[in-house]
């Protein structure tokens, strides 16, 4: 188990929690006001998950918690004690890209790349949910992830290529 020494001050209501992120279990000492997003980025030092608004309005911070996609900026790390979390860094296995990752590259489904980790985690969540079959359903169920570069049609094409084939 990796020990992550988050900054702790005396007399603060510190909580000791464990988070399993990308199959590695971390023991963290966190204060209650640390969000899951900041815990992942600043304490566990996995910066692949992005902060795009910090208010649940853009989807850049999307991670999978116990297989479900959520906005990691709107939950507290302490509330996710014991959870199994997958971030973009854990999507490829043994250096082999997940089919969605390859599809995103092949369809040029990103430009600046900043929303991409959230888009890919969201798309994995979408596929797990199994509710989207048509193009329009994919569009609707990917609408929680903003892309300011405007790569939407390519994102849909990438998700369509993989959806239902995993």
């Amino acid at each position: 188990m990796d020990q992550v020494a988050a900054s702790v001050m005396v007399d603060q209501p510190t909580h000791t929690i464990t988070l399993t992120v990308n199959k590695i279990t971390y023991e963290l000492k966190v204060l209650p006001w640390v969000t899951l997003l900041d815990a992942i980025r600043e304490y566990i030092e996995l910066p692949g998950t992005k902060k795009g608004c910090d208010h649940g309005q853009c989807g850049a911070c999307t991670v999978l918690v116990n297989g479900k996609r959520i906005n990691s900026c709107l939950t507290l790390a302490v509330m996710k004690n014991g959870a199994d979390i997958t971030t973009i860094e854990g999507v490829a296995e043994d250096g082999v890209l997940h089919p969605l990752q390859q599809a995103f590259i092949d369809h040029d489904a990103f430009q600046c790349g900043y929303c991409t980790p959230g888009q890919i985690c969201s798309a994995i969540g979408l596929i797990n949910e199994g509710k989207a079959t048509t193009r329009e359903e994919i569009q609707e169920l990917m609408s929680g992830n903003l892309c300011r570069c405007g790569a939407y049609p390519n994102i849909v094409a990438a998700v369509q290529q993989v959806n239902g084939k995993l």
Partner: protein, 743 residues
Amino acid sequence: MNNNTNYIGKPVNRVDGYAKVTGGAKYAADHHARGLCYGVVVSAGIAKGKILHIDTTEAMQLEGVFKIFTHENVSGLAWFNHSYKDMDAPPGKHFRYLQTDTITYSQQPVALVVAETFELARYAASLVKVTYKADAHVTNLTGNLDQARPPKGKKSGFKKPSSRGHFDKAFTAAPVTLDATYFHGAEHHNPMEMHATTVLYYKNGSITVYDKTQGILNTQSYVKSVFGLSGRKVKALSPFVGGAFGSGLRPQYQLFMAVLASLELKRSVKVMLTRQQMFSLGFRPITQQSLSIGSMEDGSLQAIKHEAVSGTSQFEDYVENIVNWSGMLYHCKNVKQSYQLVSLDTYTPLDMRAPGAVTGMFGLECAMDELAYKLNIDPLELRYINYSVEDGSMKKPYSSKALRDCYQQAAERFGWSQRNPEPRSMKNGHLLTGWGMATGMWDAMTVPARAKATFTADGRLTVGSATADIGTGTYTIMTQIAAETLGLPMDNVTFQLGDASLPYAYLEGGSATAASVGTAVQKACMQVRERLLDLAKDIPDSPFKGLSVAQVSFADGMMFMTETPANFIHLKDIMTLTDTGEINVTSTPLPNVFKQMKYAKNTHAAVFVEVQVDEELGAVKVTRVVSAVAAGRILNPKTARSQIMGGIVWGISGALHEESVLDHQFGRFINHNYAEYHIPVNLDINDIDVIFVEEQDDVVNPMGIKGVGEIGQVGVAAAIANAIYHATGKRIRELPITLDKLL
């Protein structure tokens, strides 16, 4: 000759794709260091006035808060105005953060709290109590048009509007005339990545700055001049930028804040703005524009007047080319233009994707559509009637202009000939369908850029230039150019950017990077070619003796005699046989100014749009867009298509969704978050079809590159407004066209 190393013009995948899909691409706030501390900015709650007092007592009592920087304790910084001038600064008195008690705009940063953790800094920032004496502010452009005045000073890229002929006389004499006024509010760039800077501090007092910027040299020089540091002490990097669209053209205040705190505290510091604070940066200026057009009954234009008034700040005169397009796009002898500013109590506007053109071409291309209806001439036909082969404002022919082909190809793909011009003619229940079109136009600019290339004995090539890739594909297209020029597999080529220690490149903006840096990269690789040939001649019994570089070719890792390709040598062998470790060159391409000055250099586009309007509820859906773009040579159709598509999405957004709403009670942008500042979501974007009409152009640069970053957006908002008119019979002249305007 079988050649596997031809990459230019091929739809190759992004070379940074792997890093971007695996979370490996590190943006400005993704860096970490031992002892890293965090800064959170406190923003002003009033638009104009004075700070009476900043009470930091409660915040400072928290253990782990290191310092709170305010105007009361920041000193010793550069004195002269020019020290604060950056590469994209408009004329005026450039803003100095935390150095005044005067409040000049709402959300002006008034304090920086630095603490051991982000959470602590955020909490302490909420405890900083600022008391103000508020003064009356003015933020309403349309209510203050009587204050309009000509801009002061010059800004790079700004062209003074020019009139010609006798507008008044021609307009009065014209049998058909049109007057229309158009308006749009402010828009903020809002790239997905909020502006952030991480400064790593080293024991010897030097710093490494990871900044979000479109010009890493701009970052470095600003830090050097404001903080009085030598170049040696400031390493500046920005390998990945999470979008910018212009917001990274000027050093933003998180850079100032992070460097200030790092130098003072002698620690590494990270500062990221909040999404709310992204509305405290520059923006596309609020603009009202009027067009008056006179034409003959046959549609030939006799007179065009285009006047615009934009807002700027109280301290700088931001300017952009809004009205100029009306003197260029169409053949017309009598043109009158004016462009004025009103100083408002806001921050200074800032170039935002296709600045000026997005605004001015919205007005011009809507007005042309309105005129077409007055004349009862097809809107596309009206464009053909007034097609111009020269830029009328400069009286120069275009270096290339395939706009006519764009119109034809896009119209055909779209099915424009099937259009019934009658508004409301395509009705199905409560859904009205409309078709509209417009023209796009942008500059084909070249800016100064240099590149260095290093070829090593293992057959690897590294090329670099201090430019940026803000999602535009710079890494990829430069790698393509370099690999093809030296005939190497792309895997053997690395392109470096976003590092101030690399050779000079101007800001990445204005669609000039592909042309400018691309030319420098090609030239550097040509220089490597020459060196390789020289070396090959030294090899005993070399068949290359006596050949010039024009007589050899490079492909598949080898150098060939062009006439007799059976004579070849592997590049690696040249290095080994001549015992050469590496070849280093730096290129400084100089444009052929004498040749170029005879021509106007522009990109063009024709965009056709289908909208579906829910007549009862007013909601508009853009169901189909066909855009044909003439932008010289397309280096990579895959990444270029993405650029155009992104531009079209921006056009849809500007036409239907986004606006930073100023509440004049508070002089404050009030919808300052991503929930209420609407940009399109996935479901808003439907069929987008991009056609590239390639142009051969040896004037702009040797490879004929014109750039595609802006052209995709220009004209889209007008095409949508025109399609909405066709669908509904309602002419909306104010953006965004939200559903309430169609009820």
